[in-house]
């Protein structure tokens, strides 16, 4: 069944055992995002250290897709220089807009690593917002953090 194309094992793993969950101090920027169609929410904090993403901490409620996506986000961007983290975020958006095109996923594999597992979600328009919720919060919070430290924001 098609279902496994959305719920790949790696997504279910992150959902059952999310990485980096919880809100932590200190942080340079925080963002709260709501998905108006289902009411799901996330609060996400970003801590920069000289333009390197030192921590991403988050809390909220949402479906397996949004939870797993936030967990993978944490894995991908923590430790990265902010410009590179933003590239990753842009690539993830591209993946979500690819309508599930395997070729797009393949071309992004180097950048997104495990996160290409989300390619199947792109075929379900109602779920794309779920996958993007944390990433929208990251874009917002990282901008704030950059501005706060007087960086490249």
């Amino acid at each position: 069944m098609q279902l496994t194309s959305m719920y790949q094992e790696i997504i279910l793993d992150h959902y059952r055992d999310p990485h980096g969950r919880g809100l932590r101090e200190p942080y340079g920027g925080e963002s709260h995002q709501v998905n108006p169609t289902c009411g799901d929410e996330v609060t996400l904090r970003v801590q920069l250290d000289d333009d390197v993403v030192r921590d991403v901490s988050y809390e909220g409620m949402g479906c397996s897709i949004s939870q797993a996506s936030q967990s993978i986000l944490h894995d991908l961007v923590v430790g990265q220089p902010l410009p590179r983290a933003r590239e990753i975020a842009a690539d993830f958006l591209t993946l979500m807009q690819s309508k599930g095109e395997p070729a797009v996923a393949e071309s992004l594999e180097d950048s997104l690593e495990d996160a290409v597992a989300f390619v199947g979600v792109g075929r379900y328009p109602a779920r794309i917002k779920c996958a993007l919720l944390g990433w929208m919060a990251f874009r917002d919070a990282s901008e704030q953090a950059a501005v706060a430290q007087g960086g490249t924001g």
Partner: protein
């Protein structure tokens, strides 16, 4: 069919609904349990729509030609049909709107500009409840914010019923409007509207009912509700999208100012000033949803032919069956009344820690359509400490086999995510 007895043959009736024969992905037959969101349409409604467009299409009330007369007769005839369907004392009390959302906005809007005693202004209060659909909250927020009035609301008990313990504090001399849902689209609760209307009328408040879920399911008598205004929506009662009805007492409607301005709602127009037609036309500016009103009349005819008593009895029986089946599934918690007394057909529930999106997605892969989300009722979700729920809702074409499919599907959901409750 097993398990329940209906006043009509559900399997025969289902043949009127072409979409129910649809096969979905992986060749699953459609199990449509999202009727509180929108209902499916019988062939009889679609045929009437097509016949109108192919044979009689013209604008109404404006043309002296055969098509125009036919279209006008059909459109105004639809008003008669809908008046009879909800036992309105007069056809002139039936206003066609896009849906109940527009109807409620119409009321909230004209009350800002009405003459006393109806005008809502500074110091006045509007009372709603915590179980309202957003369509019966936001219009009143806009009204009260813009006029300096105050919005108050009736809270809920843990069983999902209105908490009427402090009603005397909530309904006071300051209360100008009490607007509430007749049957909740989320909890399923059927509210004691006649009692509340009596209390509201004691202080001279207007009573407005959101009957979006009630009119499709119950034999309806607008005056028996005790309300002054009742709104409902066509697409939830086998009718087309884009059409709804607002019923209002004739003398009240006659005292209210217009809503939108434009063609058909006028008596005379000069550049300096206009005068307006009487109800219902005063509230129907512009070309109305002609074909949609005619289609809605066909839907009302269909429901009347089945018999609204039979529709209500089937809804009760299938809801009772579903409540029982669902409560037998480990991990299911029903939000709202768990038995069928004073209850409509929508059943919202949580399922362990699983998210409604995930539940809905797996059910969908089996052809089972339910709704997952806040169902346009965020405050009541918040009241129960959750953000979203899963909702199954039946209608006159729903079978017990479909309820069984849902119960079975939920077991598969659990297995798919590898959880136990």
């Amino acid at each position: 069919m097993t398990g329940i007895v209906s006043g009509y043959d559900v399997e025969v009736l289902r043949k009127d609904f072409p979409i129910l024969e649809r096969r979905l992905a992986d060749d699953h037959p459609l199990v449509y349990l999202d009727s509180a969101n929108t209902s499916q349409k019988p062939r009889q409604v679609l045929d009437r729509l097509r016949e109108h467009y192919e044979q009689h299409n013209a604008n109404v009330a404006r043309a002296v030609h055969q098509l125009g007369e036919e279209a006008t007769a059909a459109f105004e005839g639809a008003r008669d049909t809908l008046a009879a369907f909800v036992k309105a004392p007069s056809r002139d009390e039936i206003i066609f709107t896009r849906g109940v959302t527009e109807g409620l906005n119409l009321v909230a809007n004209v009350l800002a500009w009405a003459e006393p005693p109806y005008r809502v202004g500074p110091g006045d209060e509007v009372l709603v409840t915590e179980m309202e659909h957003h369509s019966n909250i936001v219009p009143w927020q806009l009204l009260t914010q813009r006029t300096g009035a105050t919005l108050r609301w009736i809270g809920l008990t843990d069983e999902g019923r209105l908490d009427l313990s402090n009603l005397d504090e909530l309904i006071t001399e300051r209360t100008k409007v009490v607007s509430l849902v007749h049957v909740s689209n989320m909890l399923g609760t059927l509210n004691p509207v006649a009692d509340i209307a009596r209390r509201a009328h004691e202080v001279g408040a207007l009573v407005v009912l959101d009957a979006a879920q009630a009119v499709p399911q119950l034999p309806y008598d607008v005056t028996a509700t005790g309300a002054d205004i009742v709104g409902f929506t066509g697409h939830k009662m086998l009718g087309p999208t884009g059409i709804g009805v607002l019923w209002g007492r004739r003398d009240l409607l006659a005292a209210l100012p217009p809503f939108h301005g434009g063609g058909e709602m006028i008596e005379d127009v000069r550049m300096e000033r206009s005068t307006y037609a009487g109800p219902p036309h005063r509230f129907e500016a512009g070309t109305p949803p002609i074909a949609q009103a005619i289609g809605l009349a066909a839907a009302a005819d269909y429901l009347t032919a089945v018999g609204m008593d039979n529709v209500a009895a089937h809804e009760q029986a299938i809801t009772a069956y579903a409540l029982e089946r669902l409560q037998a599934v480990p991990g299911i918690r029903i939000l709202g009344p768990t038995t069928v007394e004073d209850r409509g057909g929508a059943i919202s529930f949580t399922y362990g820690t699983l998210h409604p999106h995930d539940i809905g997605q797996v059910l969908d892969s089996l052809g089972i359509a339910v709704r997952g989300g806040h169902h346009c009722a965020k405050p009541v979700h918040r009241r129960f400490g959750i953000g979203a729920s899963t909702r199954a809702s039946a209608y006159l074409y729903t079978t017990t086999a479909e309820i069984d499919a849902l119960a079975g599907g939920l077991e598969q959901v659990r297995r798919f995510f590898g959880v136990r409750f």
